[in-house]
Symmetry: C2
Subunit: 360 residues, 2 copies
């Protein structure tokens, strides 16, 4: 029997407001070159292109970003950009992509990937993908990827694993539960217990398995997505998509499917991974000097430890402060305590409220 | 007997590096509009012009600042700008001014004023000046002004006073000692003792009294300054000044004269005063909102207390931090813990060392 083909679907519709002021509506985090010389999305595409058994790569994004993605990202042709008319969270996004794959191939395996995570280690990444594909094909599993926690991180979701699945190489487990971002105390307990992994937000399954789960758990969404799928390649596709999509309620993959589905397993990742979700986790993945300071761009740090300066603009000096992130862009400067980096959303919300769209 | 005339001498040669990045070599603190709509120097000039018995106002400054002072400061004519060829600290500066006054008037009283301090209260200021002038004239006192301490400030010099001098109005004392910037513990003791005042850095004396003290305590400086003084109004003034001035050793008024002179008294100031010497003391003189935050320019503070944002440039957001000062100018950004504000000198020194003159 021929192994079904694996298609990569990159979800690139996010805004990444936690990277404000560097990230903006027109230039969200996945389109920033914050690590190395290429954008996070380009790094994701390149990573998947290097995996030999990935048949093709699709990117799902909003109408406003489709053009810039098409013109700036190497290795993405326009027909591989799937446009979601508006953000409806992850479940509808993945369902739409599944419909497209099913139009192209009756038996596709789909890998779902965030567009803006950092992964270090090609071989373990490729190896984990192969294991996941085989599990998805052989046992119709919905496969997740879990990272062995190195700290009681409170910014990640956790996967509690159960019985190990017998494999010739690598490690995979049945999933017992998904746990949302824990409190520091709960995170300590997770870490100590040894049977929790970080949820990396990447998934592999047969498109048919996913749609089956959706039919069972989100029947209304299923019905609409199949209706949309029926028009793919036809003249009424766009009008149908725009019409029907607007009525879909937003739903996350986790709430909508994963937390209720049977037959979920987790492949233990051997690669290094970070979601680089905030300036603080960005700081965490960079190499620091002896005082724990990081300077990107023109910066001076005097009498301070554990600071991050990221300046695309001009000289930035930090004096007598510890554990602060300073981000300097041509039209806005952010100064934030690293351990409060999540709260910059409040600044973005305030700017929205004040109608200062030029800064969003 | 006719009361001798009081001439105000404003010392405007300082660099005010502690106000970097707003202050620069070409635009030192006294030329900044940090409080209100006029420069600190203009405020000083205006304050003195409002005092009826001030006969005329002189400004002493370096050659590089003379032009901008002449062109930008209202109420200063070019002949009232005394140029010191280079910075030699306060004692030679005041000696040079004394020589100029003695050429104009055989019996001048001189008031010496910093160019960049904040004083609130015209009547008490004017009243203190009158008392000082009378003490300087009647008893040939060297008169200082002391401010009743409201806190154990470690950034000010202190004056310990002795026996009160009998006056019809106001308060003045003989001076016992001058104390340099104290440690926090010593400052607490000074405050508690009740016989210490902050040294405001303003002085009044007969020019002759000052030169007499200099002749006694700094004879070499005295000799050179008299030689320079002899050429004032003559064709060889500038060449003599430039020649002789370069050989003078720098000396502060405090070390050179005040700490050793007899016949020093202090007038107790009833006006509000601050030397506004750093971003921290700048913060102290501003009015704060309920969280103790101050925003000048375009700024947002979220989840933080006791912060200062001063932006001449662009939106500046502070998140999750307390007691931080952020100063944003078009070509440099400073982020400093308010209680470490003195240490920004280290940044300026580093920039000097790196030859980044455009930022100095």
């Amino acid at each position: 029997m021929k192994t079904p083909k694996l298609y990569a679907v990159i979800m690139a519709g996010g805004r990444g407001t936690r990277f404000w002021p560097l990230s903006r509506n027109s230039r969200p985090k996945q389109l920033l070159k914050i690590i190395g010389d290429t954008t996070m999305l380009q790094m994701t595409v390149d990573r998947l292109r290097k995996v030999k058994f990935v048949e093709d790569i699709y990117v799902v994004s909003g109408p406003d970003l489709a053009q810039i993605i098409g013109s700036e990202i190497d290795g993405i042709s326009e027909e591989n950009i799937i446009i979601e008319p508006s953000g409806k969270n992850t479940a509808p996004c993945i369902g739409l992509a599944a419909q497209h794959l099913l139009k192209r191939d009756p038996e596709p395996v789909m890998g779902v990937f965030p567009s803006d995570h950092l992964i270090v280690g090609h071989r373990p990444f490729s190896g984990a993908l192969r294991i996941a594909r085989d599990l998805a094909v052989s046992d119709h599993h919905l496969v997740t990827f879990g990272v062995v926690p190195s700290s009681p991180h409170t910014g990640y979701g956790y996967i509690q694993f159960d019985k190990q699945i017998e494999l010739s190489e690598g490690k995979a487990f049945r999933v017992k539960t998904f746990a949302e971002k824990p409190t520091p105390r709960v995170a300590q307990r997770f870490l100590k217990s040894g049977d929790f992994l970080w949820n990396s937000g990447m998934f592999v399954w047969r498109a048919v398995s996913f749609m089956d789960a959706m039919e069972h758990l989100m029947p209304e969404h299923f019905r609409v997505l199949v209706e949309i799928g029926d028009t793919i390649g036809k003249r009424n596709y766009l009008s149908t998509l725009n019409d029907k999509w607007s009525f879909l309620s937003p739903e996350s993959l986790d709430y909508g499917i994963l937390e209720h589905a049977e037959n979920i397993c987790v492949v233990q990742a051997e690669f290094e991974w970070s979601d680089v979700a905030s300036w603080n986790s960005y700081y965490d993945v960079l190499s620091r000097n002896g005082d724990g300071n990081v300077v990107r761009g023109d910066g001076i740090i005097v009498e301070g430890k554990g600071n991050l300066i990221y300046s695309t603009d001009k000289l930035t000096a930090v004096v007598g402060l510890d554990n602060v992130a300073v981000v300097n862009t041509p039209d806005a400067t952010l100064v934030v305590s690293r351990d409060r980096a999540e709260e910059i959303k409040k600044v973005v919300d305030l700017l929205k409220k004040e109608g200062r769209d030029e800064l969003l």
